[in-house]
Symmetry: C2
Subunit: 555 residues, 2 copies
């Protein structure tokens, strides 16, 4: 029984207590495999940040152990950090065809395509990765070619659902391989890791097919041009829009960079189909009558630079909204995007379009399983231990409650945090220690160079702006040679506040006068005197607290 | 028929194409009355702004015409701008007892209480205001003592529903006076102005009483302390929490400044009741067992400085979360607040509390009418013209559609914008011209001194921070005497970017060297040279665009 002396370590480096940047480490002895490697979008307070990637210090430290990165599907929160992480840890990547097809675009953008080993796997296939075996199980989600994983380890089988819903009538291919989950359950599953996103919702998530039916109803009654906004990655949603267009004799044009990329990849790889002549270039849409045209576009989240947002604001070069247009927003706002989406809807209405959105019709379904689907998975997999994943704390907690209600003892359920190590033998599991984990902020080309101090300053500047005070001092005497000059930005409209600015200069002068001779050469003291007096004066006059930046020059 | 030569002008100065700052002007000849005077909360891009009030330039210009301001209820978006507007236009204010009670707190804070004429009216009462008569009709909403208005004008009756829902079983007092609406409809109503907030929702809004039933179920099964977070202004919600506490033998403590204020006002005025000894001071809660205690608190929207948010973050002086606590968040997140609320929920779970929130139970009902209620109002009021109010464009548009489906011709429906004038005679209505209208931003003590340039700078500073470049120049020679000194804030963590900072100095020096002799005294040219060269260099190195502020001092 020597092999069981070593333990399996499951270490989430992202994806818990948050929605985004999913990545989990599986370690046994001196071998590691990694499941997914996603990014997260910045929180509101991360001012100026472009995206957030997981802290993979632990992987960098154990570089030699890492055998592979295994991907479950092609969403940003599962593949988006790869271009950054692969720079440190260049190991083979395994995924299904579409997943790797989407990854290729990213790697190309980073000029890394040639240096990464991409290995295509099929649903149903099992691969050997050192001490681990990984089986890719057919699954259904809001992106095609999604897989769940069975990870065979020396201490037992781990089933990782990845993101999923149970769609009995998927748009293409077979339904989720539930029989395989049941078989594994029969064999005995050590640990279940299961998607928690929709655990707060009762019942079942509807089939993707219901959206196609809603599209058909809408197309049937539409007299003018139709625009459909949805997630670029939702290949099946786009396919259904194309199907409806074909049925009602409309041409289809694609709008928005990521939509163009995904449609191209999906068509090339055989995940999307359109009869000859249906797809037309966006530059040629003026040739067709509105009633013979469908535009499929990005921007379903109201993202400021997206195609639909620019169309709504009349800032798009190729598409203009006209009365008679019908816009279908085939997505729900992701939490935090509600106001952006609402703005786009208002703007479209104002331009004379009809708009159909989630509050009005069943034009979107989620990609994640609701309570009844989760119960089904728990019941057939019958794991010894359970580790809810993919959710904020509230979701993980509710998922733990759900498992408990299905009969699992609380001590076998692990609501984890990133960086915590779950250590398993064939019949025990416990949280033992932790490894570095967290957020790395990406701003432009900078990865990790924006930290708390920089963000705190950005926040401060954003709230009340900035006041720069400059004086020039004679080096030998310490006397003021020029200034104080005062410049403000983001504080008040200067032309209407000349008195205030003049008073501020007086306050600074007085503060400098008060600095006794012996402190003349103590620049720190002078700066503090300027700062303190100006801060108090400004707060009294305006109840604002701009950043005050005193600068002393010496000649 | 001389009197009908003059026309009634209805001029919304806020509350359309937005949720917030409701205010409408009714003008006939040289007499004006104003209905409501609310504030709005700043949009995300209004960095550092505290609140937004309507532009009332039009009222200030017509100061002598304004007879009164009439209030429908005590919510911030209906009374919150009064302290600002009354400074310009000090006219009598009319409202019901609780509405004026809440207004008093605001006026006191602004030191204005003694200078304003507050006039209490009762539900059912009619008052004369010059050429207008205003009847206050009993209504139901998420704050007690709400009224709808019938405004009698020389050209006909205007019915203004204000914010409402049809609650057949309100917590205190009689239901909405639907019979009066029907009577007015019989008489003939010229114009209906009706709440559009919930027009996208099918069916009926549930009675406030259902929340009390949900509270009782929860209290019945709760073994520890209960915290209930809700809107301070929802007097009936708080009353129901108190009722449940009494029933299950718990004491009640109040937490959060606005909750304390509203409960005090409501108790003083007789809108809230508790048996002797039930209410206890927050400072004494340690004396009671958890199972005998209910805390009612602010913070149901996850507002950063609110009591519940501070409690969740362990930053509250008097209340600490302990395992066994049960927190009920009796509110839905207002659009834009979803993430804040979610954070508080996650934090409470982490501290060991159970949390019940909208996704899990029926612990909140809206204060606004859904589609079937709106249809009822339209059907009994049977107005000649219809003007949907209180909503973003999408809501106004859907409300217009609803009225049209009920049989009203489109040319009798007016989807308006603020500042537009709706001009009515006894049988015509049209949009004729416009008056100044818009947003006035309040930042600290400054009202209107923060405009687009200041906001644009704050935005810029918030995204990539700031770089200040200072040089001192000899006045007679134009030679650089000191500098360039470079200071950055919110850009990069300087200690880890010393090379970059050093390179930036070199770039500036080179740019200055290039400025030919004849341009030495052209400070603008020197500043531009610094700005342009540094901007290009920084963008190339970092793909960021900080604000660059060149400062030249002369000695």
């Amino acid at each position: 029984m020597a092999k069981n002396k070593k333990k399996l370590k499951v270490i989430p480096l992202g994806g818990l207590q948050e929605i985004g940047k999913n990545i989990t480490v599986f370690e046994y002895g001196d071998e590691i495999i990694v499941v997914d490697c996603g990014l997260a979008f910045p929180e509101d307070e991360m001012l100026g940040i472009d995206l957030v990637i997981p802290d993979t210090t632990y992987l960098a430290k154990n570089k030699d152990k890492v055998k592979a990165i295994v991907l479950t599907h092609g969403h940003e929160d599962h593949i988006g950090a790869l271009p950054y992480v692969l720079k440190d840890i260049n190991v083979p990547v395994y995924g299904t065809k579409l997943t790797l097809g989407l990854l290729q675009y990213k790697l190309e953008e980073h000029g890394m395509l040639s240096s990464v080993s991409l290995n295509t796997v099929k649903q149903g296939q099992t691969i050997d990765l050192g001490v681990f075996k990984v089986e890719f199980i057919r699954s259904t989600h809001s992106i095609a070619d999604t897989v769940a994983l069975a990870i065979y380890t020396p201490v037992g089988i781990v089933v990782h659902t990845a993101d999923f819903k149970i769609d009995y009538t998927p748009i293409e291919g077979e339904p989720m391989d539930l029989a395989r989950f049941a078989e594994l359950g029969k064999k005995g599953v050590l640990l279940l890791m299961c998607d928690s996103t929709n655990v707060e919702r009762e019942g079942y998530t509807m089939s993707e097919k219901t959206v196609g039916e809603a599209f058909e109803d809408i197309f049937m009654n539409a007299g003018g041009r139709i625009l459909i906004a949805t997630f670029a990655s939702n290949v099946h949603r786009v396919q259904q829009a194309i199907n409806s267009a074909v049925k009602f004799n409309r041409k289809v044009a694609i709008c928005g960079r990521s939509m163009v990329n995904v449609v191209k990849a999906a068509m090339d790889l055989g995940y999307m189909h359109a009869p000859e002549g249906v797809m037309v270039d966006i530059d040629t849409i003026h040739k067709y009558n509105p009633e013979n045209l469908v535009l499929i576009t990005t921007g379903s989240q109201g993202e400021p630079m997206s195609a639909l947002t620019r169309i709504a604001a009349s800032e798009h070069k190729k598409v203009e909204i006209a009365p008679g247009d019908l816009v279908i927003i085939s997505a729900n706002p992701i939490p935090g995007n509600e106001k952006l989406v609402s703005r786009v809807i208002n703007e479209l209405f104002r331009k004379g379009a009809e708009v159909i959105y989630e509050a009005l019709a069943d034009i979107h379904v989620s990609g994640h399983a609701c309570q009844e689907e989760l119960k089904l998975i728990h019941s057939i997999v019958k794991p010894k231990f359970f580790f809810p994943v993919h959710g904020e704390h509230r979701h993980l907690k509710q998922h733990a409650n759900l498992a408990h209600k299905l009969g699992m003892p609380n001590e076998r359920i692990f609501v984890m945090e990133i960086g915590k190590v779950l250590e398993l033998t064939s019949d025990t599991a416990k949280i033992s220690g932790s490894v570095p984990a967290g957020k790395v902020l990406v701003d432009g080309l900078g990865v990790g160079d924006v930290g708390n101090i920089v963000l705190r300053d950005r926040k401060h500047l954003s709230q009340d702006g900035l006041i720069v005070v400059v004086i020039t001092i004679e080096g030998d005497t310490g006397n003021v040679a020029a200034g104080p000059d005062i410049i403000s930005r983001g504080f008040v409209y200067v032309r209407e506040s000349e008195d205030l600015m003049e008073n501020m200069r007086e306050v600074v002068k007085k503060a400098l006068d008060k600095c006794e001779d012996k402190r003349k050469n103590d620049w720190g003291a002078r700066k503090n005197a300027i700062k303190d007096s100006l801060r108090d004066f400004i707060y009294e006059k305006t109840k604002r607290k701009p950043m005050i930046l005193p600068i002393i020059m010496e000649v």
